[in-house]
């Protein structure tokens, strides 16, 4: 693998499978009574989070601890981003203390690219603006593979706010690389221009997107987007794009329903669907730890090779 994990765009399908295969072994570690291996003993990992995050930060921290890395969390309040120290200065100060890896979550697309240019530490992108969230896409792929044993040839429908979603971009890149038939659906105001050039089918009809789907992946509607007048109301959004049991009925009988969280119940997804038998939402969270362990392990392996 390269020095950093900045996005799925930089990974070959072989590298993706390597992460997914490694995560199988990592998942087994989490099922032991003593959930800890010495793999990253003596390595220092900094979790540098410029955006609030419960799931992703906790998941990384547990993954790091299970691998015996020394780990610390730095949470920078959004309000201090513009008036305080610059990202580059913060990074160089952390760098001066010689960590091995920095896990970065930041509200600006490309923030991790800036860090990768100025740091010797390995950078793992834990979500940058509207750009990518590569470990989310990897854990989603792991979860799909667990249930379907393959990704090639599956019909995957991704529905919601496509424009602002880094989860969408990483998943589209990953799933198309591995040969899935990817459909995306959302209000035309929330479709990134030219997205069909990434090899996906775009439709405003949720019914068409979910018809005979093997996987349905819902994206969070960020309620603050209402300010931009992207759609008239949450009520109307739910009526047109919300995933109801009736819509799930159009998919294949063994469909799985995914959501990267946090969910807005009754906005993009009906509670009955989120809690239904086909929902794998909590499995995604569990798999996140294993997949992040795999990423940390594989990137650290390159440290050893140096």
């Amino acid at each position: 693998m390269k020095k950093d994990l900045l996005g799925i765009a930089d990974l070959s399908s072989d590298e993706i499978y390597r992460v997914l295969d490694t995560a199988v072994a990592m998942r087994e570690i989490g099922e032991r009574p003593i959930k800890k291996v010495p793999t990253l003993r003596g390595k220092t990992v900094v979790n540098l989070f410029y955006e609030p995050s419960t799931r992703t930060r906790t998941s990384f921290e547990i993954a790091e601890k299970r691998l015996s890395a020394d780990t610390l969390n730095i949470a920078v309040a959004a309000s201090s981003v513009l008036k305080g120290e610059t990202l580059a200065d913060t990074a160089m100060n952390i760098e001066a203390m010689a960590p091995d890896m920095i896990v970065l979550r930041h509200a600006s697309s490309g923030a991790c690219h800036l860090l990768a240019r100025i740091c010797r530490s390995k950078i793992i992108n834990a979500g940058d603006g509207m750009h990518e969230h590569p470990t989310q896409a990897l854990l989603d792929a792991f979860t799909i593979r667990q249930h379907k044993r393959r990704i090639d040839g599956l019909k995957v429908a991704i529905i919601g706010d496509l424009l602002h979603s880094r989860v969408l971009r990483s998943n589209v890149l990953l799933l198309t690389k591995l040969g899935a038939d990817v459909w995306v659906s959302g209000p035309p105001t929330l479709v990134p221009p030219g997205i069909e050039r990434l090899g996906v089918r775009v439709t405003t009809s949720v019914d068409e997107a979910v018809a005979d789907a093997d996987v349905i992946m819902m994206l969070r509607i960020q309620q603050e987007r209402m300010q931009g007048a992207f759609f008239p109301s949450l009520r109307e959004y739910y009526n047109v794009f919300g995933l109801t049991e009736e819509r799930v009925g159009r998919a294949r009988g063994d469909v799985i329903i995914m959501h990267p969280g946090p969910m807005n119940r009754g906005v993009e997804i009906a509670s009955e669907v989120a809690d239904g038998p086909y929902s794998v939402i909590l499995e995604q969270v569990a798999n996140g730890v294993a997949v992040r362990m795999a990423v940390l392990y594989l990137l650290a392996g390159e440290v050893e090779a140096d």
Partner: protein, 438 residues
């Protein structure tokens, strides 16, 4: 030297229909005579122009940000003037979005005083359309004109409302001054940072559609028709805007336009590679897609575009070493423009050298109604000596500008500047030309 003979150079002077080997006699800062085989003994000093160099009317960059007063950490009038001289420009027109804004005679006089102290190239201040560039009340435009401003603009943003633009176009008619417009419908731009298209979509950058520019251009062209005023569309980037300008010209509206080198050379693919999220490709208007870049080249070739101007926008490296979202818009341009014009316009055959001189000298002089643009007898001896075949490797570190924010660092280009002469005085000579004694 009271009388200096520039001997044996290839003169390109479209206004006087000259395009061949001529001698140019300069006397007391003015062009005294242009002709073949002028007598050597008519001059106190004879400069033999090496073969292959072009002797042209001084280039005029009608869109630069010199940042003084108020942002001297980015650029000063003196460093900007030095950059202009090194870039082959004998005159620049500087934008009013300084701090304080150039909306009164005091700021104009301050800029002119700094320019006189630098004593390099001519500096023409451009005043604000509205007081404080706030878009509410007209600035004292007669006072600005009297103090030396050659045009008005709220550049950095558009003239806020159609009514204010109407008033500005009407009011400036009595001075025959153009209103220079930064076309941008701000409710469409919102918080965009890059051209709205495939590149911004995949990189997760908020987009600015070309229509944010063309809608405002159409507003202003319509108002120019209504009022008989003169509007100059600054830094045109979108193909839709070029269509708007052609429409306006076809109807006889008094509209002219400019294009920057970066908009006819680069596209939004630079956002992804060679350096992803390079803040030195963040400018406003943004780099657009290939169809837009090609439209700019077409407009330059067919005469729809009047002027090439750089929108030289220096920023300190601290300001650019940040997240793409937070970086200021703009790149420097004065010291790369000539090389880019030769390499991308003249050598590939998009335009002739003569047409290039119209774009860089004749037309900016006409739009701003300032002296220059020709080597006519009696005109100020502002002369750019250009080297169309010079092999240039762009080096940001060696630039005269105080700021180094250029996406062209390290580029190898064919074409450059040999010397710059203002009022008969040499203000820049390229050290590459060792045998060129001037």
């Amino acid at each position: 030297m009271a009388r200096r003979l520039l001997r044996g150079g290839h003169v390109v002077d479209p206004v006087n229909g000259r395009n061949g080997v001529f001698d140019v006699l300069v006397e007391n800062g003015r062009i005294a005579r242009v002709g073949r085989d002028l007598p050597r003994d008519a001059a106190d000093d004879v400069v033999d122009i090496p073969s292959g160099l072009l002797v042209c009317p001084g280039l005029i960059d009608m869109h630069v940000h010199l940042r003084e007063p108020g942002q001297e950490h980015k650029e000063t009038v003196a460093t900007g003037a030095a950059a202009a001289a090194a870039g082959g420009f004998t005159a620049v027109a500087c934008m009013p979005n300084t701090s304080p804004v150039n909306d009164n005679a005091g700021v104009t006089a301050y800029i002119l005083q700094k320019a006189a102290a630098a004593n390099l190239v001519r500096v023409y201040p451009i005043g604000a359309v509205s007081r404080g560039q706030q878009g509410e009340q007209l600035a004292d435009i007669a006072e600005l004109k009297q103090a030396g401003c050659v045009a008005v603009t709220d550049d950095g943003r558009p003239v806020a409302t159609a009514l204010l633009m109407r008033r500005a176009l009407e009011y400036t008619r009595m001075f025959e001054m153009p209103v220079i417009e930064h076309c941008e419908e701000q409710t469409l731009k919102t918080d965009g940072v890059a051209h709205e298209g495939f590149q911004a979509a995949t990189l997760g950058l908020r987009g600015i559609p070309g229509e944010a520019e063309s809608i405002m251009a159409l507003r202003d062209i319509s108002l120019a028709e209504l009022t008989g005023g003169t509007v100059h569309i600054a830094h045109m980037s979108a193909r839709q805007t070029l269509d708007a300008v052609r429409y306006g010209k076809g109807r006889g509206a008094r509209v002219t336009c400019e294009v920057t080198p970066h908009h006819f050379v680069l596209t939004d693919e630079m956002l992804a590679a060679p350096v992803a999220y390079d803040t030195n490709v963040k400018m406003n208007p943004p780099l657009r897609e290939t169809a837009d870049r090609d439209a700019m080249l077409q407009g330059i070739a067919d005469g729809s575009v009047d002027v090439i101007a750089t929108d030289h926008a220096p920023h300190h490296y601290d300001e650019k070493q940040v997240e793409f979202d937070h970086a200021p818009f703009g790149i420097t341009g004065l010291e790369t423009a000539v090389s880019l014009c030769f390499d991308r316009l003249v050598h590939p055959g998009v335009v002739t050298v003569s047409r290039l001189i119209e774009l860089l000298s004749v037309n900016p002089a006409r739009v701003l109604r300032v002296p220059g643009g020709s080597l006519s007898e009696g005109a100020p001896a502002d002369v750019s000596i250009l080297a169309p075949d010079l092999a240039v490797t762009v080096s940001a570190a060696q630039m005269r500008s105080k700021s180094k924010n250029t996406p062209f660092d390290g580029w190898r280009l064919r074409g450059g500047v040999a010397a710059t002469i203002v009022g008969g005085r040499i203000v820049y000579k390229n050290p590459e030309f060792e045998d060129f004694r001037i």
